[in-house]
């Protein structure tokens, strides 16, 4: 018998322990819970989108197991494992009517959570989501981010590539370690099958809560067509474009992103 989920919610911005794993989490704001699931590049506590979201909800933004400085259980190897972990996480914190927001890899996790249970969810928002196979077997739906260097990645992922630039030599070593750890963990969960779960597409019909797709229009990692095909699998999902943003609209248009999320949750 697996142990039931157990959790301890500490003071804001401290680690949260769930299933024996210490998870770093940013907690800000009050009101309806909003669980923000970050993309593979991780989450920066200084990102303006966090305060913008916290202005209208109780924001909880954890680093996924294996990302940031969050602990990882060696048995966790798939996004499925992460989804079950977050179901336990929501149980442990007793989150109710949660707005679950995911970007890219985080949106994949969000979808995997929602096909299992939306009991603790009120709304689902997925931005520039990966996670399913859309094209034919010889079509690479998603740019192989493990086979390009940073400058190329920034060019493809951002409307303004400068936003993605990092100078690792001047960054504190702990932050560089997080970059390295995030990359390794993304490989752990998304190397093969690459950035998708072949089973997920056929399960998306189970998501019956209000769902919004936000899509940075200038994303060259994923196509808009991919996003629309993804949205079409979820009953009544809305699809909205965000201008002057690429794969990470929460970073390039943080205010607009937060406004869209909060307006959707209020609707």
């Amino acid at each position: 018998m697996p142990a039931p989920a157990s959790g301890v919610a500490p003071a804001a911005d401290g680690p949260i322990t769930v299933n024996g794993l210490r998870i770093e989490a940013i907690e800000r704001g009050e009101g309806q819970p909003l669980l923000f699931l970050h993309p593979g590049i991780g989450i920066d506590a200084k990102a303006p989108v966090l305060d913008a979201l916290a202005a209208g909800a109780r924001l909880i933004a954890p680093s996924h197991p294996g990302f940031g400085v969050s602990e990882l259980a060696p048995s966790m190897t798939t996004v499925d494992d992460l989804a079950y972990f977050y179901l336990d996480f929501m149980d442990a914190l007793d989150l109710r009517d949660t707005i679950v927001v995911g970007v890219s890899f985080g949106a994949w996790i969000a979808a995997e959570i929602a096909v299992k249970s939306t009991a603790r969810m009120s709304h689902l928002v997925m931005a520039n989501a990966v996670g399913i196979k859309v094209g034919g077997r010889e079509t690479r739906d998603i740019v192989d981010v493990f086979a390009i260097m940073d400058p190329e990645f920034n060019k493809l992922a951002f409307w303004d590539p400068k936003i993605g630039e990092r100078d690792y030599k001047s960054m504190p070593e702990a932050e560089v370690a997080v970059v390295a750890r995030n990359r390794e963990s993304l490989g752990r969960f998304a190397w093969q099958p690459y950035m998708h779960d072949p089973k997920l597409r056929g399960r998306l019909h189970r998501i019956r809560i209000p769902t919004l797709f936000l899509w940075g229009k200038d994303d060259c990692i994923l196509s808009e067509g991919y996003g629309r095909a993804f949205a079409a699998e979820i009953p009544d999902a809305r699809f909205e474009l965000i201008d002057k943003a690429g794969h990470f609209p929460h970073l390039e248009q943080p205010r607009l992103f937060a406004d869209r999320v909060l307006a959707f949750a209020a609707s």
Partner: protein, 395 residues
């Protein structure tokens, strides 16, 4: 000392105009199958000559590359099992990290061992970083998968009374019953490679023969880590036969001719690393700590000379490569002295993996290199008395 002749079975006609990558993404249109046919057959001819000269032979495997046409080493092993008569057949390495099916590996290797009459040495490696892209195996947790595959293969080779069950995290079989079983009992010797002290210690604990490649006069700490692991498990130090070293070899009657040949064989060093940078470092292959050093531009040199000079092996000249212990080059007397000096520095090194051919070296040049080595150096190396294991550990 045993000496294995090794060539990477390169396809050098494609080494020009490669636009920065000889591996992974160099279009295979650049290979002319008729030239590949000539090269393959020539390399096998040279291995037969090596066999006749009293050398052992070694081959390896790489993928999607003009540096090594042996993309499925079982093909080469199968051929060599039939066309050689007496040589040990070392595959180093057989990349378990890229293999999805270790049962197939065990079946292939056991059959080669039987056909060759028990001449196989099984060198298992995790695989080089850039080949996780073509194999699509995950570099994250590759060592866990490697050891699971290794343990499975050994179990398959040593279980003889009834089919067994193997349901690990990585591999799932319910009726394993290896036919044929290997010729050597309990199983062919296992070898591996390493570049890290941590892994060297693990290999020592398991008693697996350990080779290092290109480590020059930075080899000793790896051997000592192996010795620590070996002693911890067995209470006695390992013999020199547990250690192997890949060295480039160029021998000739005159020093000048040897240096010309040394330059030819050392083309392996700069060519080996020509791979598009985006494929060099798949996630999980290096530790987080090593990746931090890479991102911050603090990569550490791998090897140096005995007197502490660091040599960039991509640009080094022949004399520098000799100084660093990567190339054994000169007249037969000089080459013998260099190899023995290196073995003494190592505290014992029982297997020289001799790269006797590389790149565009001609057939005549290669045969001359092998012949002179076998006639003038090999007999003396066979007589050479390794440092006593106990004395090495005590020192």
């Amino acid at each position: 000392m045993r000496v294995y002749h090794f060539t990477e079975q390169a396809y050098p006609p494609a080494w020009e105009n490669h636009h920065g990558s000889l591996r992974v993404n160099l279009p295979n249109r650049r290979l002319d199958p008729r030239i590949a046919n000539e090269l393959f057959n020539r390399y096998y001819d040279e291995w037969v000559i090596a066999d006749e000269l009293g050398l052992d032979v070694m081959l390896n495997e790489h993928h999607s590359t003009a540096t090594c046409m042996s993309s499925a080493c079982i093909v080469g092993l199968s051929i060599l099992a039939r066309i050689t008569k007496r040589a040990r057949l070392l595959v180093l390495g057989y990349p378990l990290g890229h293999r999805p099916d270790p049962l197939r590996c065990a079946e292939e290797l056991a059959a080669v061992d039987v056909i060759s009459g028990g001449r196989l040495d099984m060198g298992f490696v995790k695989g080089v970083p850039y080949e996780f892209a073509p194999s699509n195996q995950n570099a994250v947790r590759v060592m866990e998968r490697f050891w699971d595959a290794h343990d499975f293969i050994i179990k398959a080779m040593t279980s003889h009374d009834e089919p067994f069950n193997w349901e690990s995290e990585f591999f799932h079989y319910r009726h394993v019953n290896l036919w044929p079983r290997p010729y050597q009992q309990p199983h062919p010797p296992v070898w591996s490679t390493t570049g890290s002290r941590g892994n060297a210690r693990v290999l020592g604990e398991r008693g697996i023969a350990m080779a290092t490649l290109g480590t020059g006069y930075a080899t000793r700490p790896l051997y000592d880590a192996y010795r620590e692991g070996y002693i911890a498990k067995r209470g006695k130090p390992p013999g020199a036969d547990r250690f192997a070293y890949l060295g480039l070899v160029a021998v000739a009657d005159s020093e000048a001719e040897a240096h010309r040949r040394g330059k030819a064989v050392s083309i392996y060093l700069p060519s080996s690393g020509i791979v598009a940078p985006e494929f060099r470092n798949p996630p999980g292959y290096l530790s987080v700590e090593d990746n931090v050093r890479l991102l911050r531009g603090e990569a550490r040199p791998r090897t140096g000379t005995r007197d502490g000079r660091f040599i960039d092996m991509r640009t080094a000249g022949v004399q520098e490569l000799i100084d660093v212990g990567v190339l054994f080059c000169g007249t037969p007397d000089q080459v013998y002295d260099q190899i023995v000096a290196f073995a003494e520095y190592c505290g014992g090194m029982g297997n020289l993996l001799m790269m006797g051919h590389a790149g565009t070296m001609s057939h005549a040049d290669t045969v001359d290199n092998l012949t002179l080595f076998s006639k003038e150096v090999l007999p003396r190396l066979k007589e050479y008395k390794q440092p006593a294991a106990e004395a090495t550990v005590a020192a």
